[in-house]
């Protein structure tokens, strides 16, 4: 996994609550058996004027000029600003795969759906939780200043403007932070405890053989 330490990038605002994973990556793209290549179909139904299907040449499709990702000032954005309950719905990890493939490295929102939140950490995407009023201030600033960017410092757990006019601390679980900072493969970490798992399993299956 790509480590996440310090990142500065342009902020793109998605100003609606309850953005679901069907919107982030529609179902027809879930037929892929790969982990990569989902970026061009991120927010497909909002982003293009035609209906997208796997295998299309996305560069030739008509873009929806009203959708924020298509507006010149947000091109190349790598930090996505969102409202409450971002990523609700399906457990599809294709959602963070699409965000990461597009180039999004961090998210800022008042809250996320649990499974999506978890999936982000597995893919080097940092979902930052800030308070409602802090998020609203960032929406105002993003809309007011073209090219508005933020710097995320995971080690110090801060998200701030370059001039320091706005700076917010955020919480992150220590174990997730360590994995993200170091880009650790958590399967490898878990297998360090293989003996403990084996002992637990042997006891459990002896007591409740019907589980096997």
């Amino acid at each position: 996994m790509q480590p996440f330490r310090l990142h500065t990038g342009v902020v793109v605002p998605i100003d609606r609550a309850n953005v679901d994973t069907d919107a982030i990556i529609p179902k027809q793209f879930l037929k892929s058996i790969k982990r990569s290549g989902f970026g061009p179909n991120l927010f497909d139904e909002w982003r293009y004027l035609d209906h997208g299907e796997p295998g299309m040449d996305n560069a030739k499709r008509p873009e929806n000029p009203d959708f924020v990702l298509n507006q010149p000032r947000y091109r190349g954005a790598s930090i996505l600003l969102a409202r409450a309950n971002f990523g609700c719905g399906s457990s599809r990890e294709h959602a963070p795969w699409a965000l990461a493939d597009y180039g999004i490295r961090a998210l800022v929102a008042p809250s996320y759906a649990d499974i999506f939140f978890n999936n982000c950490f597995k893919n080097g995407v940092l979902p930052i939780v800030l308070g409602d009023s802090e998020v609203s201030r960032l929406f105002d600033a993003t809309l007011a200043f073209p090219g508005f960017s933020l710097t995320v410092d995971l080690e110090r757990q801060t998200v701030a403007t370059r001039d320091g006019s706005m700076s917010f601390g955020f919480a992150v679980e220590p174990f997730r932070k360590k994995c993200l900072l170091e880009g650790l493969d958590d399967i490898g970490l878990t297998l360090l405890h293989a003996d403990q798992i084996r002992a637990f399993e042997a006891r459990r299956l002896a007591e409740q053989p019907w589980i096997a």
Binding site: D15, R16, A17, N18, D20, D22, A23, P26, K27, Q28, L30, K31, S32, I33, K34, R35, E45, H51, P54, G55, R83, A84, N85, C88, G89, S90, S91, R92, E93, P96, S111, Y112, A113, D114, I115, N118, N119, K122, N123, E173, P174, F175, D186, I187, T190, L191, H193, A194, Q196, I197, F200, E201, R204, Q208, P209, W210, I211, A212
Partner: protein, 468 residues
């Protein structure tokens, strides 16, 4: 210390705990389907790993499979590749049991787990699918995971996770005649919101929940995720044990007696405390119909489409306005004035035998309205289909003008050919009314099976209790 059911299920599966409280949780049952597993098996292969415990894996193909013309196979080449990839992965890596496409017992993963007894009380059950919460109806700790976690469970039989907060949703009293588990769970989501359960595991309790059948409890737990909770659960009781008895993978003989003795303890202790509690009066619940693009956008069938201008919160007002624009609805429209183009009875929420019986009871001797282009009944599994046919339900549906299909996820998420065209409006027994969920531009209204059948007959939403 008085413990909740969630405490008991979680704590009994903890292998070890990190210093920050992150637990390594042992997983008993791993359900696998074709959409969220290929990348996990690929990861396993690239790392040179093998599945930790093959006997934990129960697999089926459900999301991409067609619901008609099975003799022609899967025509969409990309869908076919995904299903064949699962076939190949199970051949290579093994499973306790696999129900491939065309198998008589194939079906929706959340239907076949319970009906085969692969889902048992006291288990941890995971699947790369958010509706895994369904299995919590069996006093199991069941939740959806992403593909990285599917790989993690395959490789280690464990997951890393922190304990969630606990929520009690207690429903007192009795549901009125014609009001179902689906109406109840929609009413719950309507009140607590789609993020109301975020960070929580929900226990559904109270006399109205105790009175539900296992099918009803599965419907309620299935939609815990639509309230934001990864896991929903119901304590074990005689209803649970009677359902499990005799299922193919349920314990037998002396093991059965030992299991039942253990399962009887799968209840929250008297006086156990929850982080959050919500209390509902079952008698006040009416048949529900969603009007918007989130399951929390729901009203009773005798209600009206809300007016965004009456919302003070700007994000909420904008959300309502966007939803109405997408749904092609005007504020203050009576729900019963909304006509439907298609009807879908199926999905992991409502495709079990009891759901089909409820819909058939409404359809019996009636005809689908002429404005309804397609009324689809998709049983949850081959076993459900066979049972329904043995009861003659297929004939009831066909005589009324419904199509009777092969099992699968079908138009719940429209990965196969069953879908809405842009602008089409559907009464659906599924779980999500998100934009584009049932097909790009499609408009979904979530309802119970009886209400969906009633909408098919009337051509618009009606209170099933008043269907003439």
């Amino acid at each position: 210390m008085r413990r909740t059911l969630y405490d008991k299920l979680f704590d009994s599966h903890v292998v070890r705990t990190e210093s920050d409280g992150t637990a390594l949780l042992y997983i008993d049952r791993h359900l696998v389907h074709e959409v969220t597993s290929p990348q996990a098996y690929e990861g396993l292969k690239l790392a040179g790993r093998r599945p930790w415990r093959v006997s934990s894996v129960v697999a089926t193909a459900d999301h991409n499979t067609p619901t008609k013309d099975w003799d022609q196979g899967i025509r969409d080449p990309i869908s076919r590749t995904q299903v064949e990839t699962l076939d190949a992965n199970i051949r290579t890596y093994g499973a306790k049991v696999y129900f491939p496409f065309l198998d008589k017992r194939q079906g929706i993963v959340h239907v076949i787990g319970p009906e085969t007894g692969a889902t048992l009380p006291g288990m941890t059950v995971v699947c790369g699918d958010s509706h895994t919460s369904t299995h919590g109806a069996f006093a199991a700790l069941a939740f959806g995971i992403g593909t990285s976690e599917v790989e993690h469970v395959l490789a280690t039989q464990c997951l890393l996770m922190k304990k969630a907060k606990s929520m009690l949703v207690r429903v007192d009293g009795r549901l009125a005649q014609g009001v179902t588990a689906k109406d109840l769970v929609l009413a719950i989501i309507g009140r607590i919101g789609t993020a109301g359960g975020t960070g929580h595991a929900i226990e559904f309790a109270g006399s109205a929940v105790r009175a539900l059948s296992m099918e009803g409890r599965m419907t309620v737990c299935n939609m815990a995720i639509e309230a934001g909770a990864r896991a929903g659960m119901v304590a074990a009781d005689d209803t649970t044990i009677d359902y499990v008895r005799g299922r193919p993978y349920a314990p037998r003989g002396a093991d059965w007696d030992r299991a039942v003795a253990l399962w009887c303890g799968l209840v929250s202790d008297e006086g156990a405390t929850f982080d959050t509690t919500h209390v509902f009066d079952a008698a006040a619940v009416q048949p529900q119909v969603t009007w918007g693009t989130s399951p929390e956008m729901v009203v009773p069938v005798d209600g009206r489409v809300p007016d965004p201008d009456r919302e003070r919160d700007t994000t909420r007002r904008d959300g309502y306005a966007k939803a109405l624009a997408y749904m092609g609805l005007k504020p203050n429209t009576p729900i019963t004035d909304i006509a439907v183009d298609k009807v879908f009875i199926g999905s992991c929420t409502n495709s079990r035998i009891e759901d089909l019986r409820a819909a058939a009871a409404v359809a019996r001797g009636r005809k689908v309205a002429s404005n309804v282009r397609l009324a689809l009944v998709v049983p949850g599994s081959g076993t459900v289909k066979a049972q329904a046919e043995s009861e003659g339900l297929d004939r009831v549906f066909r005589a009324a003008g419904f199509e009777w299909r092969e099992p699968g996820c079908s138009m719940c998420l429209a990965m196969n050919d069953d879908r809405l065209e842009p602008g089409e409006r559907c009464a659906s027994t599924s779980n999500r009314n998100f934009e584009g969920r049932q097909g790009a531009g499609g408009r979904t209204h979530l309802v119970s099976p009886a209400m969906a059948a009633a909408a098919a007959i009337a051509g618009r939403f009606v209170d099933v209790r008043r269907l003439s």
